[in-house]
Amino acid sequence: MSLTSLWFYVLVAVLLAVYYITPGKARWVVLLIASWGFYLLAASQYAPYLAATTFSTWLAGRLMGREQVRLDAQLADDGERKVLQAASRKRKARISAGAILLNVAVLATVKYGGFAASNLNVLLDAIGRDWRVPVPELLIPLGISFYTFQSLSYVIDVYRGKIESQPNLARYALFVGFFPQMVQGPIGRYDALAPQLLAANRFDFERIKDGLGLMLWGFFKKLVIADRGALIVANILSNGDTYQGLYVPLAMVLTALQVYCDFSGGIDIVTGVAEMFGIQLATNFRRPYLAQSVPEYWRRWHITLGAWMRDYVYYPLALWPPLARAGRWLRRAGLKRLGVLLPAMTAELVVFAVIGIWHGAEWKWLVYGLYYAILIILGLVLGPYATKVGNALGLRDERWSTKALRITAVFALACMGRYITRADNLSHTWELLLRTKAAWNPWILTDGSLWTLAGSNNETLVLLAALGLLGVVSVLQERGFALRERIAAGGRAAQWSVIIVAIVVVVLFGVYGPDYPSVFVYELF
């Protein structure tokens, strides 16, 4: 059952009624049944994976919780605090490591097993070995990348003592499998999400309208912009002889916008649905194409994944004692700057390699991650020099022209990255770069050629108007203009007017229907 399926919303409407009719204390049970019902309807064959992840991480949490209780009891009786704590920490580490390894192994097997085996076979072939590793052909369980990361964050947070373990398996299962978010995120944290899921959220019609508005905005981004843009991009890329030169970078610009609208649109839809149930999901996007640097871009794009990486990979790695020692050694050896940057650079490299490969089991995704790692490391290394050059050129941070220049540069780099991800593989990326070089045709910007790409002038006009609206809203939000609050302040008439206009726009101008199977890009990850 897709997020763009009408039946999903019929289900949501029924659930809303059942949820708010149900006595407060039992409301979370409605969500749990709905979540598992949704998963069984959407992908019942993968339910054992979800069940295994849920149970194993819950069990790990419970075992660590009991360990903590035992430690507390011992500390009350015994004075050897440090020894007991160290022993307890070891036991907890073993439990959490077991749960992490198990779930990472499942994720790695189903998602990367085929990739690893086929590359190993290439390697064996290269070194002249006759035997081959069987290549598993496993389908990737729906939402596994998201719910695995979400449940691992729980295990690690329990281990770190940041949160207490959840004694009730059913309540925990709701946290792992909450239906709107489990397919494509955002990746939630237990301390922020679970209390909301388990609370007796009160009916608030204003909040339901807010959620509806956010959902419609998500539909607008997904169906009016992303799916329309995708058709144009496919048209350009599949007609290599016709569309060369500037057409290709334009396709990459459109891909960048399409992927953003697809993913953030999907997130808006699930956030809107959750909001109707009184649950505020974590923010996943903050206008990434208005970022003024690559690190800032990643603080605005897929925020929950970035934050997950920061908390569970980047910091542990950057603070890893061997790396710190290596940095000190380099500083003593006279490579002062390299010594300072080594832990950060290493952590960035690993984090972005993981982010890249998280998207899919293909070399292009690893290269995509490394592309950003290199950009960020270059930024770390060359940052001070770039600042000096900027100052020399009179580029002042507060000037709009400086900001516009930076925003444009970051956006251009993001579009360059799409040469890697939009291509079928790395050789296709190379082919696209060659196609870009094959013709010099800047006149297509002015001679009307672009108007025909979408099939008709009207289609192009709709796309441009929609992108224009998205741009205006983004800039207003960036400047602190609270659009949703302003609309709400306009009263019921204003709220419903906006909602009804949005419905008309989405229904009429959206790209959907039997000829357009609508899939969210990040559902596939």
């Binding site: 009408l6 289609e459 419903w496 419905i503 229904v507």
Partner: protein, 490 residues
């Protein structure tokens, strides 16, 4: 009770009503309809709903064989039987059943005629979506439509219930293609063909092995049998006489005939076999006259087949409605059928002389427009054709010209030719506004508009737009181009 506490309920209901109205309007706007046509699947149900209550005594259900082979106008003209044809291209019995269920909401027919061939047809629900939706889209949202949607879904993957129930999901992208014709609320053709299709005759050879005694390989298809049984049950429940008719079909065989006969006998349902020797003696299907193709009758063949079916219905007790309040309207519909029959022949003509004989008729006004610089068009049959139509101007004497003309029944009503673009506006005798414009503006040089809607022109050459006063619409558009062989371009 604190009313303010429940103000949200009123707000929600009011907003829901507005949203539903908006969606209904969008749905109604983008749905495929045929406001200017008279014989299309998308007119079948709207025409049916427009019939006065309890005015239809016979419903005709089936595939294209029934569409082309049975004529409600002939049933009326010969027997005074009021009928409506709800058949459609490749109609599956599932759709026939639900059309019958829907039809019975507004009419109480005495008899239902169903094509026997449907018993033997495989499930073709999974590829005829265009044809099915053209009919289904016009069924209002109701329990019948919900049941139809759910059952269609179980047989055809494309037919997800939301697409069947909410046509805008399928058609919303038509906003790009909407024209003025989509906003014509009052169909131009107020008269009805009652669902009939008139197909021209083709020179078709009678197939060898027709009605031969075969090996009995035919079988009733499960899917078809289920819904034909439901049709039989519904008719029995409503006290309606069900009649099975096997339409003339060159692929028909004795085993097929025997199967349908046996099916009818088991249920006490009479079967009219139009392929048997007795009926064939009356039908006398002539190649080149009565057949459109080996499995479909032409409009001439349909008259013969309808007479036989009509006689059976009359003998079965279906009343003669002549002399009742229905008569005046039905007679006008019959005249409409006759006019349309002539139009089918007109459109089937590719010979200028024959075509001319048709259009030199007081019922037709011919609107003529040429493109600039079409000297080459005035060769071959064109000058002769123009002169025969009554065009007075000596066009061949002017090397570069822009011409517009209006002729009716061989008489020139208006003509003008200049060395520059011409635009002429006028109202026809029945009040329809016409603009004929000869100019060089791309993409529509030289066009004929009627009430602002494009009717013809735009092609290289000289264009003739034929308007029928009886049918109140343009019935044929041809262009004679300047390139050999100067055939009609339709």
């Amino acid at each position: 009770m604190n009313i303010r506490r429940y103000a949200w309920v009123i707000e929600l209901l009011a907003a829901s009503v507005v949203v539903l109205l908006v969606l209904y309007t969008i749905n109604h706007t983008v749905i495929k309809r045929d406001n200017l046509g008279y014989s299309s699947l998308s007119r079948t149900l709207p025409d049916y709903y427009a019939q006065p209550a309890d005015s239809v005594d016979v419903l005709l259900l089936g595939t294209s064989k029934t569409m082309s082979g049975l004529m409600p106008a002939i049933l009326w003209h010969e027997y005074g039987i009021s009928s409506h044809l709800l058949a459609g291209t490749g109609q599956a019995p599932l759709l026939s059943y639900y059309l019958l269920e829907e039809a019975l909401k507004s009419q109480h027919p005495k008899a239902v005629v169903v094509e026997g061939n449907m018993l033997l047809r495989i499930n073709n629900l999974d590829y005829l979506d265009e044809a099915y939706y053209a009919t289904i889209d016009h069924i209002p949202l109701s329990l019948t439509k919900i049941k139809l949607a759910l059952e269609m879904w179980s047989y055809a993957e494309y037919a997800s219930p939301e697409v069947t129930l909410l046509p805008f999901i399928r058609y919303h992208q038509r906003w790009l293609k909407l024209t003025k014709t989509d906003f014509v609320l009052d169909p131009i053709y107020r008269r009805s063909l009652h669902g009939a299709w008139l197909w021209p005759a083709r020179r078709v050879q009678l197939a060898e092995g027709y009605m031969a005694i075969d090996d009995g390989g035919a079988a009733i298809v499960d899917f078809a049998g289920i819904y034909m049984q439901r049709i039989a049950d519904l008719c029995a429940h409503e006290g309606i006489q069900l009649v099975i008719v096997n339409m003339p079909d060159q692929n028909w065989s004795t085993s097929r005939s025997d199967l349908t006969m046996a099916w009818g006998q088991e249920r006490g349902v009479p079967v009219i076999e139009l392929n048997d020797s007795d009926n064939m003696a009356e039908l006398v299907l002539e190649p080149g006259v009565d057949l459109f193709d080996p499995s479909h009758l032409s409009k001439e063949g349909a008259v013969k087949a309808t007479r036989i079916v009509g006689r059976f219905l009359r003998d079965a007790g279906v009343p003669d409605r002549r002399g009742t309040a229905l008569e005046a309207e039905w007679n006008l519909d019959y005249d409409f059928y006759e006019a349309y029959r002539r139009v089918v022949d007109l459109r089937d003509t590719t010979d200028p002389g024959t075509w001319l004989q048709f259009v030199n008729n007081p019922d037709y006004t011919v609107l003529i427009v040429s493109r600039l610089d079409m000297t080459e068009a005035l060769v071959g049959d064109v000058p002769w054709l123009l002169s025969q139509l009554g065009v007075k101007a000596n066009l061949t004497a002017t090397p570069t010209w822009s011409y517009i003309g209006i002729v009716r029944g061989g008489q020139t009503i208006y003509e003008q030719f200049e060395d520059e673009p011409i635009t002429y506006d006028t109202d026809l005798a029945d009040g329809r506004h016409v603009r004929i414009s000869s100019n060089t503006d791309e993409p529509n040089p030289s066009i004929v508009l009627m009430d602002g809607i494009h009717q013809g022109g735009g092609q290289q050459g000289i264009t003739f737009v034929v308007y029928s006063h009886q049918m109140r619409s343009v019935v044929d558009v041809i262009t004679l181009n300047s390139s050999p062989p100067r055939h009609f371009i339709r």
